[in-house]
C-alpha cells in the first residue's frame, strides 16, 4: 500500500512508507460482507446516535434534574444517600462483616478484590477460548459479581422512601421570605403543636418539611395535623376542633401570602 505523497521531511522519524508491519490488518481477511466505515457505516452509526439523542433529550425534558435544598451541615436528620451507581458500595458497608471492626473488608478488601480482578481479567482468564462455555470460572465469577451488585443496589434502593425524601428536601427559593403573622389566632396553636418540627417561621427542620408552598386544601391540612402523614405520627395536634380550624386558617394564610 502506497501511503502519502512520497515526500520526505528533514530528519524524518516517521515509519517509512515501505514498512508494512505497522499497517493495520486488511479487513478483507474477515469472512462475510464488510462495509466501508466512511461514509456507509458512519451514516448508520449517525442514525443510531440520532435516535438515541431524541430519546435522551425527551427524557431530560420530561424529567427535570433534581436539586435539593442548599447544603445545611446542621441538618442532623438528613439521611445521606449516594447516586445509584454507588448504592451497592453503600449497602455493602451496612453488613456486619463489612463494617465496625471489619470495615477494612468492606472498604478495601472486597472492592479491591472485585475491581482488581476486573482490571487483571485478561491475565486471570488467560486461556485461548473466547466463548463463555470455554471459560466457565471467569464467566460465573462475573455473573456472580453482577448479580451481587444488582441485588445490593436493589436492597439499598428498596429501603428508601423516594417520594417522602423528595418531598422533604424540596429547595426553598432564595429570597422568598414569608411574613409570619404572629398575631393570627392560629399562630399560638402553631407554636404549641407544630413549631418544634416545622421551624419557627415554617421553614422546616430536619424533623419536618417546610409548610411554605404546600398545595393542600383546608381539609387535608386538618387531616394531616390530626392523623399525620409520611413520617409524621398521628395525634400531634392536641387542641379542640375550633383551634384546629384556626390553625388551618393560619397555615393557609401564610401560603397565600407567599404566592
Amino acid at each position: 500500500m502506497q501511503r502519502g505523497k512520497g515526500m520526505r521531511f528533514v530528519g524524518d522519524s516517521r515509519i517509512s512508507a515501505d514498512k508494512t508491519s505497522q499497517v493495520p490488518k486488511d479487513y478483507s481477511e474477515y469472512p462475510g460482507r464488510t462495509e466501508a466505515f466512511w461514509p456507509n457505516f458512519l451514516l448508520k452509526e449517525w442514525l443510531v446516535g440520532a435516535v438515541f439523542l431524541v430519546g435522551f433529550l425527551t427524557a431530560t425534558v420530561v424529567a427535570p434534574p433534581p436539586l435539593e435544598g442548599i447544603a445545611d451541615p446542621t441538618a442532623a436528620g438528613y439521611i445521606p444517600l449516594p447516586d445509584w451507581y454507588f448504592l451497592f458500595l453503600y449497602q455493602l458497608l451496612k453488613y456486619q462483616f463489612a463494617s465496625g471492626d471489619y470495615v477494612l473488608i468492606g472498604i478495601l478488601v472486597i472492592p479491591g478484590l472485585a475491581f482488581g480482578a476486573l482490571f487483571l481479567a485478561p491475565f486471570l482468564d488467560n486461556g485461548p477460548g473466547r466463548r463463555p462455555p470455554q471459560r466457565p470460572i471467569a464467566v460465573s465469577m462475573m455473573l456472580l459479581a453482577l448479580i451481587a451488585t444488582i441485588w445490593l443496589t436493589y436492597e439499598s434502593a428498596a429501603a428508601v422512601d423516594w417520594e417522602a425524601r423528595k418531598e422533604m428536601n424540596k429547595p426553598i427559593p432564595p429570597g422568598e421570605t414569608v411574613e409570619i403573622d404572629t398575631s393570627h389566632p392560629g399562630y399560638a396553636h402553631y407554636e404549641a403543636n407544630c413549631l418544634a418540627c416545622h421551624g419557627e417561621s415554617m421553614e422546616g427542620t430536619a424533623a419536618g418539611p417546610t409548610l411554605i408552598g404546600i398545595e393542600y386544601s383546608a381539609e387535608e391540612i386538618a387531616d394531616i395535623a390530626v392523623n399525620g402523614t409520611g413520617n409524621m405520627p398521628p395525634g400531634l395536634f392536641t387542641g379542640s376542633d375550633e383551634e384546629l380550624e384556626e390553625l388551618v386558617d393560619f397555615i393557609l394564610s401564610v401560603n397565600e401570602g407567599g404566592e
Binding site: W46, G49, A50, L53, V54, L57, P174, G175
Partner: protein, 147 residues
C-alpha cells in the same frame, strides 16, 4: 444531530443577551431634601439593590445634583462618557465651573454637555428624578445625544 444537541446549549449560553434589558424604573429616595439643593452641584450618594443573576447586593450610586437657572433639578451621572472614570465638579483648579475627569482631562460644562475638543463624545447621563414630600427621588441614568 449536532443541531439538536447544541440548540438547547446555545440558547442557554446566549440567554443573557436575549433577556429583556428593561430596567426597573423604580425611583429611590436619596435622603436629600429639595430645599437643600443649590445651584452648585453637590455630590449625593445612595444605595440601590442590584440583582446580578443569583447574586443580590446593594450597590452605591452617586449623582451630582443642582438647580439650573430655571430652578429645575438636574441630577447628572458622574460616570465619564469617554471611558467610565469618575467625574468631579471643579475637579481641576485649571477649569473652574466645569466637571472634570482626571483620567484623560475630559471636561463637561455645568449642564453636563461635553466640552468640544476633549475626549468625551457625549454629555453626561441624566438621572430620572422626582420630588415627593420635599424629598428627591432618583431613578436610572439616561443617556443624551452628543453635542
Amino acid at each position: 444531530m449536532a443541531a439538536g444537541l447544541l440548540a438547547p446549549m446555545i440558547r442557554f449560553a446566549i440567554d443573557p443577551v436575549l433577556q429583556s434589558q428593561e430596567k426597573s424604573g423604580d425611583l429611590v429616595n436619596v435622603n436629600l431634601s429639595v430645599d437643600d439643593i443649590t445651584d452648585t452641584p453637590q455630590r449625593v450618594d445612595w444605595e440601590v439593590q442590584q440583582v446580578d443573576g443569583w447574586y443580590e447586593s446593594n450597590i452605591n450610586r452617586t449623582a451630582w445634583v443642582y438647580k439650573d437657572e430655571n430652578g429645575e433639578i438636574v441630577a447628572l451621572s458622574p460616570i465619564c462618557t469617554h471611558l467610565g472614570c469618575f467625574v468631579s465638579w471643579e475637579g481641576s483648579e485649571d477649569y473652574p465651573n466645569e466637571f472634570y475627569c482626571p483620567c484623560h482631562d475630559g471636561r463637561y460644562y455645568k449642564d453636563g454637555t461635553n466640552v468640544p475638543g476633549t475626549p468625551p463624545l457625549r454629555p453626561l447621563d441624566v438621572y430620572e428624578h422626582a420630588v415627593e414630600n420635599g424629598m428627591l427621588y432618583l431613578g436610572e441614568p439616561k443617556p443624551r445625544e452628543g453635542a
